[in-house]
Amino acid sequence: MPTATSSGSRGNIVAALGKPLGALAIALGIVALALAVLGANPAATFAALLSGAFGNWLAATDTLVKATPLVFTGLAVSAAFSGALWNIGAEGQLLFGALAAAACGVHLAQWPRPPAIAVVLGAGTAAGAVAGALCGWLRARFAVSEIISTIMLNFIAVQALSWAVHGPLMEPSRAYPVSQALPPAACLYRFLPPSRLNAGMIAALALAPACYVWLFYTNAGFELRALGKNPRAAAFFGVPVGRVAVFAMGLSGAMAGLGGAVQLSAISHRLFERFSPGWGYEAIAVALVARLNPLAVVPSALLFGALDNGAQAIQRAQGVSPVLVQAAQGLVIFVLLAFDTPVLASWRRRGAVREDLASGRADA
């Protein structure tokens, strides 16, 4: 299968901004049109969205909070897609990560804080890595499409989480299907209360350049990108295709799993059904807008975090459902894909041939 719309190019980030921002503008234009048709006021809706996302200090910091899981899952998707490994399962990997983190975290009340946090985040990372690597291995060993296997694991993760909060991890009074709160020792450091800024964001910010360096300045990253550009050529030149797939899917899952653990440890402290509003799926839009460049994932995640945060406000202000943002995500991906269509190049080529024919240089 060919590479994604825009497989990771190192290029100049600023120069690369045009297309994603243009796509976003077009998608938002379509949304505005739809809003008008539905009878809502587009300008007021967007104003409410903006003020919900950045209107005051708390709203702005909450945009950062909402963007954090998207950085992790966005990096996960970027890494996998760079190798044409279609990991649609960041959602499940994130949930498995949160589940493992919760299962370990509740037992760490007596631990000192740094090692407790390390164990919680480590458990989440490991769980996500196993879920991802499993799909990579199924692909390498049994030729099971990672598209299907990762999607199936998403659904399995939802059920596993539901079982956990109704069963072994249920809070002691057993009244609600939520897990016991993590002990303070297992909770990530927070800054500047009442905002929810936390150490997880720093981890997310550090992970992006690390992922970038791995993808563009290491052998393993090179092999993965080679696999993404042309799997047959990569195999011919000695890239261990199976091993790269397992490792990259594991790495991708690890980042998503870490995202789940960070969310649990820093923000929610408890596990519950619908723990994720779809961060793993939204990650695909985040990664594509970032054109699979790990560094660009951070601003891209911020953008979608702002949309998510603002979406809650438009419900209150304009009675427009926040699921609108999901429709917008789909549109953004469509418009971006359309921008990168190979058909345009083909038209241009044909046009050039026609000109050549007209000027009698057909044989040249």
Binding site: A327, L337, P342
Partner: protein, 303 residues
């Protein structure tokens, strides 16, 4: 008990079969449509909305097919004409459909989601056959869509393997360049497959609301479209085997109800996860997709 299980198995298999047959046609033409999940969800919503507004089940079915056609056309424009990455476009369609149906649902019926119910497809009893022990209700006392979904299996087989059109379609999926050179019109064939699939998947979505749930819930397709994708692989791209695979997954879905009723003490989430686990296990056991059309998932740009 067993009778109810068998009956439920067939009823659960029908929407999977409809969607899988549609996907089979699309994949045979060389396109993989992951967006089938979103198309199904759109069909489910449109069926409910139309049936609720008009009180007519037929209107529900018609609107489901139309809405699903529109979604498939969106995918076709991207995947066929613009030749973009099909997996990414399909995923975008799923996300888009989830958002759009959610917006419309809340707009029309409120956030509270009052227990809306609509008229459902009538169960049709096929004479005395339906009184056969054990298999009677399963095979001869179902709604019309169930009969339809199983009756089109031979029709799809005939169309694919005994008509010129089917040969052309498969040529577009195996060697699009060659098909194009022969003047078969690869884009046209892929669009035809997508449109037929749109109708079938839309009906399969309508089945979810009008056939058994009686109402609409956001995201109610719950992975059935994805399971249909797995069914096509498991059925090795052959209509008959796809029907058998659909029944297998129908049984996995039906097992939930039976086992929940019995109260085995096993957590119910295990049963809910069963179809997805089964998909993984079966695909692993099958090991490989050697039966897939050669050009599956590769965008074709006319040179």
């Amino acid at each position: 008990m067993l009778e109810a299980f068998l009956s439920s198995t067939v009823a659960m298999a029908a929407p999977l079969l409809l969607a899988a047959l549609g996907e089979l046609l699309v994949e045979d033409s060389g396109v993989i449509n992951i967006g089938i999940e979103g198309v199904m969800l759109t069909g489910a919503f449109a069926a409910m909305a139309a049936a609720y507004a008009t009180g007519s089940v037929a209107a529900g079915l018609g609107c489901a097919a139309l809405a699903a056609l529109a979604m498939s056309a969106l995918f076709g424009a991207m995947a066929v004409n613009l030749a973009v990455n099909q997996v990414v476009a399909g995923t975008a369609l799923d996300i888009f459909a989830l958002g759009v149906t959610g917006v419309f649902y809340r707009r029309m019926f409120g956030v509270t989601g009052q227990a809306l119910t609509v008229r459902t497809l009538r169960q049709v009893r096929l004479g005395p056959l339906s009184h056969l022990p054990l298999i009677g209700p399963a095979l001869f006392h179902q709604n019309l869509l169930v009969y339809f979904s199983f009756l089109i299996v031979p029709a799809v087989w005939l169309a694919l393997y005994r008509t010129r059109w089917g040969l052309n379609l498969r040529a577009a999926g195996e060697r699009p360049e060659a098909a194009d050179a022969l003047g078969l019109g690869v884009y046209g064939l892929r669009w035809q497959a997508l449109m037929i699939s749109g109708v079938l998947t839309g009906l399969s979505g309508a089945y979810l609301t009008l056939g058994y749930a009686n109402t609409f819930v956001e995201g109610m397709s719950a992975g059935r479209g994805f399971i249909a994708l797995a069914i096509v692989i498991l059925g090795e791209w052959r209509p008959g085997r796809i029907a058998i695979a659909s029944v297998l997954f129908g049984a996995a879905l039906a097992l939930q109800f039976v086992l929940q009723a019995v109260n085995t003490g096993i957590p119910y989430q295990l049963f809910l996860a069963l179809p997805y686990v089964l998909t993984l296990v079966v695909l692993t056991a099958l090991g490989g997709q050697s039966h897939a059309p050669s050009a599956l998932g590769e965008p074709y740009v006319r040179p």
